[in-house]
């Protein structure tokens, strides 16, 4: 098996996952195939939806003599006629629905191995949301015990060990940690179907977050039994890689159609609010006239079209950097989903999410309401503002937000004040206090807000401003205001230095500006826009300021300066000695060669690459979090930009 992060956004990731039967791109959905009665054959699914993976039930095969014999003789791939990757479930869900299933936990794992399943599942103990913590803990311990017994039997099969623990986050995390230590290959989050059936999405979110916090980040995570597209985007943003859908068939049997916003009864629909091939081919009237079996099949196909379209949308949003925007959009369709989103505002969760959030995005931040203020990227901005930004003067002039980007007139007014007087200049923006030094930096200049926002957002921004300025004298600017000049004016160049210093500290930490910008500073500006592009110190090119997000790209001389002045392990990715020659030559850093990393580095951060003796080797851009670098066996950890031998 290989599992490798290719794209990321929020705490979600787009990965390539390979089994013996081929490559799968995540996030993805495994249609559930009932080997006893296939409503849609795997072949047809391949043809229509280009599926590379599906899930079927080994318990059903095991219990049926004919299927069992056939599967043992020619394998599960022949049995259901599918050449791609096949995951098998173990009977746990059946035990939840029908009670005791009398199955030997190790026997069913061996059976899955023997029929050639690509990913088998242990017979875990389904923890229901209504059980006490004690009962739930017993189930967790039994699940761990069965995992221990099952792993030696797995052979070449990948083994999925579901994380249980009912609604108790500490149990979920414990279970996840224990199973990760056993080196299982694949982690379903189990026991969540009753939560989803009752739209307890807040509890579901807590379960996912707890499990993720305990899990080995280098293994796929599967939200077991989640087949409704309503929750896909949120689950992906929290780091789920796989879903499975028996819903497409179950709902169709029940005459219900799945939509991105929920479920509708086919009989109630005056027309088909969809453009999938089924809904484009048939009118509602024509569908009504089909015989039941055929209509049910068409509804099932529609359900799959809608489910896969949502996954495609999620993968696009993830790749382009607007996954949170999508999550917030989807939440507006369901009161319980938007409630679940508010769980993410809790500090512990925000910290965890911020840790995974890329520091650089391809797209602007689209504000959709108060929830947008709690996006990890905004939380990061606030955190850094309060810990990494220094107000230089005792007086602050506060400007109200106008348009974004500030109109030329407005910026001119600010610049003129800065030339008159030594004051801090802060804009009260929708995202809270925005010092003028940072106004070209992501996310301040790369945000889309309307002119008026809701009350909660306004109040939050004002509250943050107050906290930020509580030690300075505040003057609220109004049009036509003239500030008396009591200090010698500062030059434009001075403000440029303030700008690059402030951005460097926000990006690399307090002290970074002192490390980077020493000696004679020369700023190269864009001829077209007048904006700072390159910063040359004593003749050497230290950093470039990116036009798209106002953050710095580290040049090798800048890396050297940071390395010299910032203490180990700050800004470092440490690589093992066997990789040193390659990286020295300019090759990128594979995760398996990382031996340590500054825990404050985030994905897509600029970083300094060193060997285990802290010798400077080059600069690059991280692709993973520290935890991921130390866990993943496949894929890149750092994209090397310049190295000591190849600048």
């Amino acid at each position: 098996m290989t599992f490798e992060i290719k794209e990321r956004d929020a705490a979600g990731r787009l990965c390539h996952f390979t089994t013996k039967h081929g490559k799968v791109t995540t996030p993805n959905l495994l249609p559930v195939i009932n080997p006893n009665k296939m409503m849609i054959t795997p072949r047809e699914m391949k043809q229509r939806f280009d599926i590379d993976i599906l899930i079927t039930n080994s318990y059903i095969i095991y219990k049926n003599q004919e299927l069992k014999t056939k599967a043992l003789e020619s394998g599960v791939h022949r049995l259901i006629d599918f050449p791609g990757s096949i995951m098998t479930d173990s009977g746990t869900f059946q035990s939840y629905v029908y009670g005791d299933v009398r199955l030997d936990p190790v026997e069913i794992v061996r059976f899955q191995r023997d029929i050639g399943s690509d990913i088998g599942t242990i017979l875990d103990v389904f923890g229901t949301p209504d059980q006490t913590k004690e009962i739930s803990e017993q189930g967790v311990q039994e699940t761990i015990k069965r995992a221990q017994k099952s792993i030696p039997e797995k052979g070449e099969m990948l083994l999925a060990c579901p994380v249980q623990g009912s609604v108790y986050p500490e149990l979920r995390e414990y279970c996840a940690r224990q199973l990760s230590a056993l080196s299982a290959d694949f982690f379903p989050i189990g026991g969540v179907v009753p939560l989803m059936e009752n739209q307890r999405y807040s509890d579901l979110v807590r379960c996912i977050l707890a499990a993720k916090q305990g899990l080995d980040p280098s293994k796929p995570v599967h939200l077991f039994g989640a087949g409704h597209p309503l929750i896909f985007s949120l689950a992906v943003a929290l780091g789920c890689d796989f879903f499975d859908s028996s819903a497409y068939a179950k709902y169709a049997n029940d005459g219900r159609m799945i939509f991105q916003w929920g479920t509708e009864k086919f009989d109630d629909l005056p027309e088909l609010p969809c453009n999938c091939p089924i809904c484009s081919k048939y009118s509602v009237k024509e569908l009504r006239e089909l015989d039941v079996k055929d209509r049910t099949l068409q509804l099932a196909l529609h359900n799959l079209y809608v489910s896969f379209a949502e996954l495609k949308t999620i993968r696009v949003a993830l790749t382009e950097g607007w996954l949170w925007e999508l999550v917030e959009q989807r939440a507006a369709a369901n009161p319980f989903l938007s409630e679940a989103l508010r769980v993410l505002r809790e500090p512990a969760h925000l910290h965890w999410l911020e840790h995974h959030e890329p520091t650089s995005k391809k797209t602007a931040l689209f504000y959709t309401g108060p929830q947008s203020l709690y996006r990890p990227t905004v939380f990061r901005y606030h955190t850094r503002l309060f810990t990494r930004f220094e107000l230089l003067f005792p007086t602050t002039v506060v400007f109200p937000e106008r348009t974004k980007p500030y109109s030329q007139w407005y910026a001119k007014e600010m610049t003129s004040i800065l030339q008159q007087k030594n004051v801090n200049l802060v804009v009260l923006s929708t995202l809270g206090p925005a010092p003028f030094e940072l106004d070209e930096m992501y996310p301040l200049a790369q945000s889309v807000f309307p002119n008026t926002v809701d009350r909660e957002t306004q109040e939050t921004a004002e509250h943050l401003l107050e906290r930020f300025l509580h030690n300075t004298q505040v003057i609220h600017w109004h049009e036509g205001m003239v500030l008396k000049n009591d200090k010698p004016p500062i030059s434009t160049l001075d403000f440029d230095i303030r700008r690059i210093s402030a951005v460097a500290d926000m990006q690399f930490g307090l002290g970074a500006s002192d490390a980077l910008f020493t000696g004679k500073i020369h700023l190269v500006k864009s001829k077209r826009t007048g904006k700072i592009r390159n910063i040359i110190c004593d003749g050497s090119h230290v950093v470039s300021m990116r036009a798209e997000d106002g953050l710095f790209t580290l040049k090798i001389d800048g890396g050297r300066r940071l390395h010299r002045r910032l203490k180990y392990p700050l800004q470092r990715v440490v690589i093992t000695d066997d990789a040193t020659p390659f990286v020295t030559e300019g090759k990128s850093v594979f995760a398996k060669f990382v031996s340590d990393c500054d825990p404050d580095l985030r994905p897509f951060d600029e970083c300094v690459i060193v060997d285990e003796q802290d010798k400077f080797l080059g600069v690059g851009r991280t692709l993973l979090t520290r935890n991921e670098m130390l866990s993943f066996r496949h894929g890149l950890a750092v994209k090397t930009r310049e190295s000591i031998k190849k600048g």
Copy 2:
């Protein structure tokens, strides 16, 4: 032409509209056909999207000698080979884009008539958003003048007269009123393309609302130049019936794909986030490999699939009663759209919207955030609570909201307090104060909220509670609380009377309960649920309480009582003498036979039907607002339930 309301929700309507060339269901989208170069032929559009109407440009035909001759000889339907309804535009938009087009305003109307257009358009004066009010007013006056001159020339053709007035609501409303007085047939709202291009949706909303307030409600309204599905749902909720799309082709030519949430550049997309037949047939790679012309065609088809799917979704939402929910969902995709939604909170707009909002819905109210508190149906509840509900006692016990519907335990606790003590009992619900008497009435019991809501909603609810209770002593209930008994306890029956009285006053107005419930009151309750079903006074069945929304259905004896006690025109729909015999026999009331109506009646309200001498004829259910009843020439105004001859 006929134009008839079939379904309604918000201020939107689903209508049947007929021209000489057939029936069209609204809301709908007219694809723009360029007669010079058809990217997709009308035939193919009919086949793929089952279109019944499209729009083409008479100015382009008029300017091209070959097209002109052909069109005059064999008609515009033959020219573009489309047997359905054809609307033609006049060249106004070309004059906006290219400057003066040198066209005689009356000549181009005659030309449209002569080529057999079903709906021709006058050459109005395009008002741009940047013009002064004076310039804009001149344009409006000129537009009205041209409409006056054009109407005598229209022949059998329907004539569309665009409402202009730039961003000045008073000009928009004036223009609308003047054009309505001229008996034009069809009302585009013109000059809005620059607003949409700049995402000035707040201004767009103000323009639509102002125009709607001045327009004859019995004529179709077309948002001219609106082709992006992002704004369809909001525009429909405000009463727009038609859109037109040249966007499908323009965007495709530019390599852009339309999605319900916005627009994406095809070249940037890693995959196709859609399941339309085009995106299901081609992978993004396969589309890239097509030659430009073919790819552009496929993108255009995709754009139309997405646009029509949104219209289908809107029609379903409108029919099922969740149009506001859909609008709020869509608004979450775009900061400027959610800003536009806040314009609707302004009191004048809320009043207008409340006037059109049906009083009864098929679906529960889904809360999506603070905006949901400003839904017209919630605004109505608050207004009526403050004007029609009387607090009976000097003391109020306030319960916090738990679950909805209240758990049995919770309701028991409340009932026990009511039996101990003569107090008002009010729940602080998400929708504000909810007196226990009203807790089965829409929207209180038919709402879906999460357990926790956002701060703005909470504060608004608390503020409303305070206002509501400012004259009484307030006791906040907590678990285990015992209230001392200082008055004789009241019986359960007494509370039932309080409930039916409160609901009757909320539904029919203050005094209605006194009118309805006199004599010996007998309550028939459901054996299964214990809830009140029928109310018998002195042996006659006065009203039934509906299980689905807790509101009353008026029986003929109830109608008689209201008629006797409530002064003219309260609760009345007045019909002309020529319709009296039919309605007396139990036939429903057509709009054209309505001579007056209580302005306080809302769509789907229970009403009393009288003749012009205020003689009681029967009871029924309104389908239209007063203004609509007095304007529409087609369709029903009241569905008669019982009449004096046919009970």
